[in-house]
């Protein structure tokens, strides 16, 4: 085994460590030759706890204690002391030989100098040269979002967040600066140093978050190299502050949720009319229609299946108790939380329930600070299909089921369409189907992080500015799934002849080690900061699953494998997946007089996902900034008081392609049987699972960013404008190869897309007497263009719409990413002559009738390429599921204890493919819109065609993927509206309460959209986003809550 130099050097490191340990105990022996002390208060006279006091140009510093007092040692006579505190204007005060300095700090109205977390460190906002958006934890608690990335929606420009569905606990899709790849577009998440993905942050409670930083440009993300290609989200959890007094707070809310709207579908009478009308239009004789007068008399039911599926007034509640505090040398922050959310569909079958515990501590031992973060969580959930055409989906069944079918007959037996001679394949009584579902998934997680920070400057002045940090993160999670499938016989497609139990256990382990050495030094006006680091990461998972039939108990409670008695039915499986990364990185930050800044980064990553030919990748970046307003020539006015320009360039990677794509593993699924009668045996035939590609390499994204930061009116008004250009190339794709090859295509690199856009963030903060007003506006426009696709067709397509509609989402060179691809329609044939006249004159001058089989009332499809026939070549871009523009508007006002917050989000310029009706099933119910809008004679409709039973062999009105399915789904939403009241401290302190706030909050109260489906917000992967198959809608929620601090 080859060892790195780091390891070889470990003996000398050990010596150094011992030395440092020894030195720590002698720190107190240093002469306290020059000590300064004092008290810090705010402008109302309250003492400020936790103010940072630093000797300027050094790392020598402290924070104020519980009484607002500080003492700082080793302060040179001519030193300048700098005082900083979040929300206060920083001050620099010359010592001038004094030993006591009291300070009064004024509240700031701007955030130019707040600290921003960057990869492996933090930086003052005014010095940042990349494009980093910061969201304070306090912003996140303004909605009752369950996942914290959900709460980021609209808070940062250029980060498009789409809820995949309204199911509790559902994953959210996050796209930073557009879609760069045909594969995984999710950003990398780093939680207190531990890399994870969007699924992996489910244990985080929004009130535990100190801040979230989104690294949008390549230069900022380059420090995460191989995995920064889709951007990086840095999440920092709350820590206690030194000398902070012990705080206990209790936050709770309880809310009720309801669907924000339902669809208007036909009731029994209209339904039967519609079926008869369709039958007659399809050639049926009037006495042979499905619902003759005689039969109508036998139909006694009119079921509103949507209402049956809905769980109105679904409950949601949350309780969080947090403790924070700190002494002069240690801090702690801890919380215990419970959250429970019911879904607004499928009562009892859709919920999410979470307990979390967190403890973050730090302790300083002289030059060394040791910290640990511990998280424990348990999540229990049950879910129903959220957006699925086939089995399991709740709403699609409810929408399509004939209203003439009751839920149950009087004798208590479930009813099905089959009872009415209308077997509808996957569609059947969803209430009955839900009653057979017995499954639950429990996730348990333990995440621990320990680190040690060594500040050598505390040891020897000569080493001032040199720090070493070693950090070790470990996550263990167990996902346990258990289900019981009872015996039932609902209809021939939905039955189970023998009961069974399934248990699945998935173990995930993820750890990483980071070691970083930083050195900060100032030479006059030159400030330099160096970072060198090393990181190793591994994640692996092991699964075990077992199924067995013939269970002796008929319930979920006893659904354990030992209760299943058929030994021959036992099926087991288990697998193991492993992934490692080894990385080295470095960064240089330089600035001159806080005026001219430059940063350069490089990272080298090695990944187990690539073969020896391309195992290692290098990811460089450079960026620079200029604070123009600090130039002497810049006029000193309050009108424009801050101006900065910055620019960056960098490269990032994406290695999210699964494991072992580069080698040829064997598949043994080529099963065949030999032997007669009892001699029959199964042979698991083998072949390579696919063609290997040993030269597989990283997907790379290259991005340039130019931005302006502006402050007006003494920073009451701030604005940031970012312009970017991002090209992602060498996608990891499975390019189609000829089937002549005989085996699956290899994963190859190829294809590229350019995303460019503009982002604007504006803030306006004003304080007038007791009134505080804070307005924030974000907006982003993104445009994408596919530059290359490495196959003969220059096309990738996938995505299924309604039944039989395939390839509706397409990547094509010269077009935006992932657009909807289908036929254009041109209204409805009104007369027989219209059909005859719908011709194309081809190049030979021959007129060709395009839709000879059509009848008046059928849809007119356009021969866009004028080749005299309708074929796939006539399909065109019908719109995009990805918005062109997204924006957020956040309005906060507080006045004498009353606070009001309003947050709007909008996504403009997106389309949705509405695939709600199963047009292959003639007995599917219709929406009122399609039914009432149908063509019924010349001039009655030029949009919706006549009703037909099915039309597959004739005109394909509803089978053909066309613009009839595509709707503008731009929307604006009042995401949250909160009204709160904080009781005067003078009152609450009498009962030992430091702070008491009560509030009422409404979420999704208003949705403005023209989209007629359930919800315009449909996330998903690149080939599934924006396809509505009865998506689980977002709930409208009313919440009552309180925050108490003791």
């Amino acid at each position: 085994m080859k060892k790195s130099s780091f390891k070889n050097d470990s003996s000398s490191w050990r010596k150094l460590l011992f030395l440092l340990m020894g030195l720590y105990f002698s720190v107190s022996a240093f002469a306290q030759s020059s000590t300064v002390s004092g008290t810090v208060k705010d402008d109302t006279g309250n003492t400020l706890v936790g103010v940072t006091v630093v000797v300027k140009g050094t790392t020598n510093g402290t924070v104020t204690n519980i009484d607002g007092a500080y003492t700082i040692t080793k302060v040179p006579e001519n030193a300048i002391l700098s005082f900083s505190f979040v929300g206060m204007t920083s001050q620099e005060i010359a010592r001038e030989g004094k030993s006591s300095i009291n300070v009064t700090m004024a509240a700031t109205t701007h955030d130019i100098d707040e600290l921003v977390v960057v990869g492996y460190g933090s930086q003052k906002k005014s010095l940042i040269t990349g494009s980093i958006a910061k969201v304070d934890g306090s912003e996140l608690t303004k909605t009752s979002s369950l996942r914290i990335n959900q709460a980021l929606q609209g808070k940062t420009a250029g980060v498009v967040i789409t809820n995949n569905s309204g199911q509790p606990g559902e994953f959210v899709s996050v796209r930073i600066r557009g879609i760069g790849t045909n594969g995984d577009n999710e950003p990398l998440y780093i939680v207190d140093g531990l890399p994870t993905n969007g699924y992996g942050i489910d244990y985080l409670n929004s009130s535990d978050i100190e801040s979230i930083e989104v690294l949008k440009d390549a230069a900022s993300a380059a420090i995460y190299g191989a995995r920064g290609g889709n951007g990086v989200v840095l999440i920092t959890t709350k820590k206690g502050k030194k000398s902070e007094k012990f705080n206990v707070s209790y936050d709770a809310y309880i809310g009720i949720q309801n669907p924000w709207h339902t669809l208007d579908v036909l009731g029994a009478s209209d339904y039967m009319d519609a079926m008869n009308e369709a039958a007659i239009n399809s050639g049926s004789k009037p006495d042979k229609v499905p619902f003759t007068d005689a039969r109508r008399d036998t139909i006694n039911w009119d079921t509103n299946w949507q209402e049956q599926m809905l769980n109105r007034n679904a409950k949601k509640e949350s309780h969080v108790i947090s403790l924070t505090g700190g002494s002069a040398t240690s801090t702690y922050s801890s919380s215990l939380s419970y959250l429970n959310q019911e879904g607004i569909l499928a009562k009892g079958n859709s919920f999410y329930d979470r307990f979390t515990y967190r403890l973050n501590t730090t302790r300083q031992f002289g030059m060394m600070t040791v910290g640990s973060n511990l998280n424990l969580a348990q999540m229990t959930n049950r879910s129903v299909g959220a957006n699925d055409t086939y089995d399991g989906s709740a709403l699609i069944q409810a929408l399509n089921l004939p209203p003439i079918v009751p839920v149950k007959y009087d004798n208590g037996v479930w009813a099905t369409p089959t009872d009415f001679g209308m077997g509808m394949q996957e569609i059947s009584n969803p209430i009955a189907l839900l009653s057979y579902r017995n499954s639950e998934s429990k996730t348990r997680k333990a995440i621990a992080n320990v680190y040690a920070d060594f500040d050598f400057g505390q040891l020897i002045d000569a080493l001032s500015g040199l720090k070493f940090k070693t950090s070790y993160n470990y996550e263990y999670s167990n996902v346990h799934y258990r289900s019981y499938s009872p015996v039932y016989d609902l209809d021939p497609t939905h039955k189970n002849v023998i009961n069974s139990v399934t248990t699945t256990d998935n173990h995930y382990v993820r750890w990483n080690v980071d070691n970083t050495l930083t050195y900060v030094k100032s030479f006059g006006e030159n400030n330099i900061s160096l970072l060198a680091g090393h990181s190793a990461f591994r994640d692996y998972n092991e699964s075990l699953t077992g199924t067995k039939k013939d269970v002796i108990f008929d319930d979920f409670e006893h659904a354990y494998l030992d209760n299943a008695k058929d030994p021959l039915s036992a099926e087991t499986g288990g697998t193991f997946v492993d992934h490692t990364l080894l990385s080295y990185f470095g960064r240089v930050d330089y600035d001159f007089a806080n005026k001219y800044m430059a940063t350069a980064t490089i990272r080298r990553d090695g990944s187990s996902r690539f073969g020896s030919a391309n195992k290692y990748g290098y990811f460089p970046s450079v960026s620079a900034g200029w604070v123009i307003s600090r130039e002497d020539f810049f006029p000193q006015t309050d009108a424009v008081n801050f101006m900065k320009v910055r620019a960056s360039w960098g490269q990032n990677g994406n290695e999210n392609i699964g494991n072992f794509g580069y080698i040829s593993t064997m598949s043994s699924s080529c099963i065949y049987y030999f032997g007669a009668g009892n001699d029959i045996a199964q042979y698991n035939g083998i072949q390579p699972s696919k063609i290997a590609n040993p030269t597989l390499r990283w997907e790379t994204s290259e991005q340039s960013n130019v931005a302006f930061d502006l402050g007006f009116l003494n920073n009451k008004l701030t604005a940031t404008i970012d312009l970017y250009n991002k090209t992602t190339k060498d996608w990891l794709i499975t390019a189609p190869v000829p089937l002549l090859v005989g085996n699956s295509a290899p994963t190859i690199n190829g294809g590229s897309v350019k995303n460019s856009g503009i982002e604007l963030e504006m803030g306006y903060k004003v304080k007038a007497g007791d009134l505080n007003l804070d307005i924030k506006l974000t907006g982003a426009y993104n445009k994408s263009e596919v530059l290359e696709i490495p196959n003969t067709e220059k096309v990738l397509s996938d995505g299924t719409g309604g039944f039989g509609q395939s390839g509706i989402i397409r990547f094509e060179v010269g077009q935006p990413v992932g657009f909807f691809w289908g036929y254009k329609t041109d209204g409805i044939f009104q007369t027989v002559d219209d059909v005859k006249n719908h011709v194309t004159v081809d190049s030979l001058g021959v007129s060709r009738v395009l839709q000879g089989g059509a009848k008046p009332g059928d849809v007119i499809f356009v021969d866009t390429n004028k080749d005299g026939k309708l074929s796939d070549e006539d399909r065109v871009n019908l719109g995009s599921p990805n918005p062109d523009f997204t924006g957020g508007f956040n309005f906060t006002l507080d006045w004498k204890g009353i606070d009001l917050n309003m947050f709007w989000y909008a996504a403009i310029g997106q389309e949705t493919w509405m695939a709600l009706r199963r047009y292959d099933q003639p007995f599917s119910n219709y929406t009122t819109e399609v039914y009432e809008g149908a063509w019924r004679g010349e001039g009655t409709s030029n949009h919706y065609p006549r009703l037909t039973k099915t039309d597959a062999n004739y005109n394909g009105n509803w089978k053909t993927p066309s613009d009839l399915f595509v709707y503008n789904s731009s929307y604006g939403r009042l995401r949250s509206l909160t009204l709160g009241y904080t009781f005067p401290k003078t009152l609450t302190r009498k009962v030992k309460i430091e702070n008491l706030r009560l509030y009422v909050m409404g979420e999704n109260l208003i949705t403005i959209t023209k989209y007629p489906g359930y919800d315009p917000e449909i996330g998903g992967g690149v080939f599934s986003a924006g396809i509505d198959r009865g998506v689980y809608p977002q709930p409208k929620t009313i919440t009552f809550g309180m925050n108490i601090t003791f």
């Binding site: 070691n515 492993d578 593993t665 099963i671 007669a676």
Partner: protein, 535 residues
Amino acid sequence: MKKILLAISLIAILQACTTDFVELSPKVSKLESNAYITENDAMLALTAVYDALSVQNWNFAPIMADIKSDDAYAGGDASGGDMEYWQEQERFNIAAESSAPLNMWNRCYSGIYRANLFIEKAEGIQWKTDGLKTRMVAEAKFLRAYFYWDLARHFGWVPIITTNLPSVEDYKNIPQSEPVAVYSQIASDLLEAEKGCPASVPSAQVGRVTKYAVQSLMTRIYLLYEGFAKPVLGISQDWTSNEGTVINKAYVQTALKDVINNGGYSLVPSYADLFDWTNDQNTSENIFSWQYSELGKSSDWGGWNVNGNFSVVFYGPRSARMLDGTALAEGYSFAVPTWNLYNEFEAGDPRRDVTIFDASLNLASYTTGYQNTGYFNEKFRPRIEYQATGGAAQHNWFINYPDIRLADVLLMASEIFLTDDPAFSLDCFNKVRVRAMGDAAKKSSINIDDIYHERRVELSGEGHRYWDLIRRGFDYAADKINNGYMDVPADAASIADFALPRVFNPQTYGMFPIPATEIRNVNEGVLKQFIPAYK
């Protein structure tokens, strides 16, 4: 404290600083480099070739053949658009974008890849058993011939690949061979398989290719070559292998006598027993069957890794209850027998009720599908009592597909010896007829139409009828195909489903277009449509 810190620092530094930290190898699968060593490995590699033959992938070849013939309608659910590419085939209006030709092409070239890979890897196997390599290579060649035959009869002009190529790019530049060359390749492989395959196999190996299976397939291909390839594709020479061996009438006559006299096969005394699910799937009559079983507990709605007989569920009626109220296993009501087929059976022929399930006599209720005739394929109709409980119920029917059985061989012999040895021809013919209908049904003289009638009633639902029609000339085929389709009772409730007449299009040669995506995925202009209707 010191110790803890030291430990943290050291663990942190030690844990990850080796460069082989990022060199991982899969823990749950073999690699190509260590997978082909023992004779057992060879058996598993050969298994993969057999598997490709049995792949249905939603487009079971015998069903597609039947729905193009006068034996069955496409059917499916009431929409008439379920499996649209079957409905397209039924109307001889097959688009190059259709997935049916694509899946056929995919199955064949996957099988060819696996056969070529086996032949290549056989060289590196540590063989211990005498003659085993020769036999297994012979089996692989039989299977390869089978795949090329499926290509030859469905596409005609196809690229010939007999060794796997180093790079996927190499496959983008292989032109199609003329049909005559494809048939020659088939002949070469079959001749070698005939030499290398054993005359019989022990019980545990039933399902593997025997010499007689090779000879039977050779006869079947010979008939198509003479009746279809020569007149339609314009081939003038006799069927000749690459090495120059000619498989002519004399050759197949010798082969047929070998199968009939020496093969040891015998007709099962009762025709019904052949399709009785309680009986062993491999009878004394089965010469070559595609083996299916429920053992694999398959569940792959993609369709490729289904190892039971998925086609079974396609044949059954939808949501049906028997007269006594019990539910039938759910079916999809595809490939429903035509009235024309029903009427083909002579009065008293017991084969009719073994072949056709009459809903009006057996069912209290069912959901009628498209082109409902009230008839369903009884030979392969799903039986609830045999529905597998592992995997997806639809995927794990254990009924084999009886590709080549003695009755077929006897009737081919009857046809081939009709003029050369009328007595033998008549004897073969009567054996089949008498087994079904008793001695009274024996005929004393026969002509080709008698043989065609007998083949139809004996083999219907098994995917042979269409190819029999095609090889008798397009006029004959068009007459039967079109008129058989339109033979609809005037009072049929589903009469609207037959409103469009069916017109056999001779310009299609009754074949498939080259899949459009395949044309796009090779270099431009390399693959072409040679069949007039698809140009």
